[in-house]
């Protein structure tokens, strides 16, 4: 059966795409952010995942408000990036894993998580940039499965639902008849708010507590409603539900391999955690 080697939670600000394209990793503004990654690269070299299941949110590339699934999953041979309108460079396509996609679809719908299935799916910066950050020299052999959660149009799935969804993803991966090694990635956050008079809101105290609890006690997050999370982390900080779903997939106890936290990248508190299953 397939094995989950661990998980990574990481910020996905579009601006990072420009920094990568312009090789600004050692620039004073960017260094504290990019310096968080080499220990995670070393860990990935050690655990050697074959597949990445990436839990993220689309920002109006693949999904418009005409059809807005709460949970959607890719089931394609490959996933293409495209023009998102804000001038960040597009990146090369990522390889899919339709066998795992369909195993997840079958298992999750059986477990009563009624997903939207996508045999064609454009992936935006929230999917591509974390992979570029984690494998700066593209790992061409890596296969991927995108799992998209709605964080655009409220109501959003509750933290409780996301954690349960993640746990079901984890069980499904572990029941996949394959010798693949799987890493589960959650992208977005941490605290930030782009819109309104409260734009620029950041909550370091909450973010740091969230990062600690995500590792040791993810059920702690379910005490908060989505509106609570908007108040505590900003209208876009609520993307941390992608971290929660990914953490759910790792099951019980995990060990943090490496963490990093830096303010600001663009308007965002940037977080990173690599976790190994124990």
């Amino acid at each position: 059966m397939a094995r989950i080697v661990g998980g990574i939670s990481v910020t996905h600000v579009p601006y990072i795409g420009r920094a990568i394209a312009n090789s600004l990793q050692q620039d004073a503004y960017w260094k504290p952010f990019f310096d968080g990654f080499p220990p995670v690269h070393a860990w990935l070299d050690k655990v050697k995942p074959d597949v990445a299941v990436v839990v993220y949110n689309d920002h109006g590339l693949n999904f418009f408000l005409d059809k807005m699934p709460t949970f959607a999953i890719g089931a394609a041979e490959e996933y293409r990036n495209a023009d998102e309108g804000w001038g960040i460079p597009t990146v090369a396509p990522f390889k899919g894993d339709p066998d795992l996609s369909w195993h997840l679809i079958d298992s999750l719908i059986e477990a009563e998580f009624d997903l939207t299935t996508c045999q064609e799916m454009l992936v935006d910066h929230a999917f591509t940039l974390p992979l570029e950050l984690l494998w700066p020299k593209r790992n061409a052999a890596l296969r991927t499965v995108p799992v998209c959660q709605n964080t655009v149009q409220f109501p959003l799935p509750t933290p409780k639902r996301c954690l349960a969804f993640g746990r079901a993803i984890g069980k499904a991966i572990e029941s996949w008849d394959s010798d693949a090694r799987v890493v589960v990635i959650g992208t977005g956050g941490l605290s930030h708010q782009l819109d309104g008079e409260r734009a620029g809101f950041i909550n370091k105290k909450f973010d740091l507590e969230f990062m600690e609890k995500l590792v040791t006690d993810p059920d702690w997050v379910t005490r908060y409603s989505i509106t609570d999370l908007v108040e505590l982390t900003g209208t876009q900080g609520v993307e941390l539900i992608n971290w929660l779903t990914a953490r759910g997939a790792l099951g019980g106890a995990v060990k943090a391999i490496h963490t990093n936290y830096h303010i600001p990248i663009s308007n965002t508190a940037a977080g990173l955690i690599a976790m190994e299953t124990v």
Partner: protein
């Protein structure tokens, strides 16, 4: 429609069903800006482009004024408004500064300060 009491978070608009209905045309226009051809068509005739997507007077004025708060009040969603901002090469600190009445330098300083608390 029965009115529901909504929790108020100061300076924050929750993009819920009411806002999604109100802002549909505006957000649909902004979604079209994923294409360079459409961005150029907008720049060639901004008012005509708004009309083509059926924006109402409030939305059209907000777009022509490039007023982010007015677009939000008219049902705009932050991610879609950002695609319009991209046409004018506005980054998120420009947008943040405009909404909070700060200079860009002041807004950036506020972000840096949030990391030192």
């Amino acid at each position: 429609m029965a009115s529901k009491s909504k929790r108020v978070i100061p300076g924050t608009t929750i993009f819920d069903g009411d806002m999604a209905r109100k802002g549909y045309a505006l957000n649909k226009m902004c979604y079209s800006f994923n294409s360079e051809e459409n961005r150029q068509a907008f720049l060639a005739d901004r008012e005509g482009y708004c009309a083509r997507f059926g924006l109402n007077a409030e939305q059209t004025k907000a777009v022509l004024d490039l007023s982010v708060l007015a677009m939000l009040a008219a049902g705009g969603n932050a991610y879609f408004i950002a695609k319009l901002g991209g046409i004018y090469k506005l980054d998120m600190q420009d947008v943040g500064a405009q909404q909070t009445g700060m200079t860009k330098a002041e807004f950036q300083a506020k972000l840096v300060a949030a990391g030192k608390n």
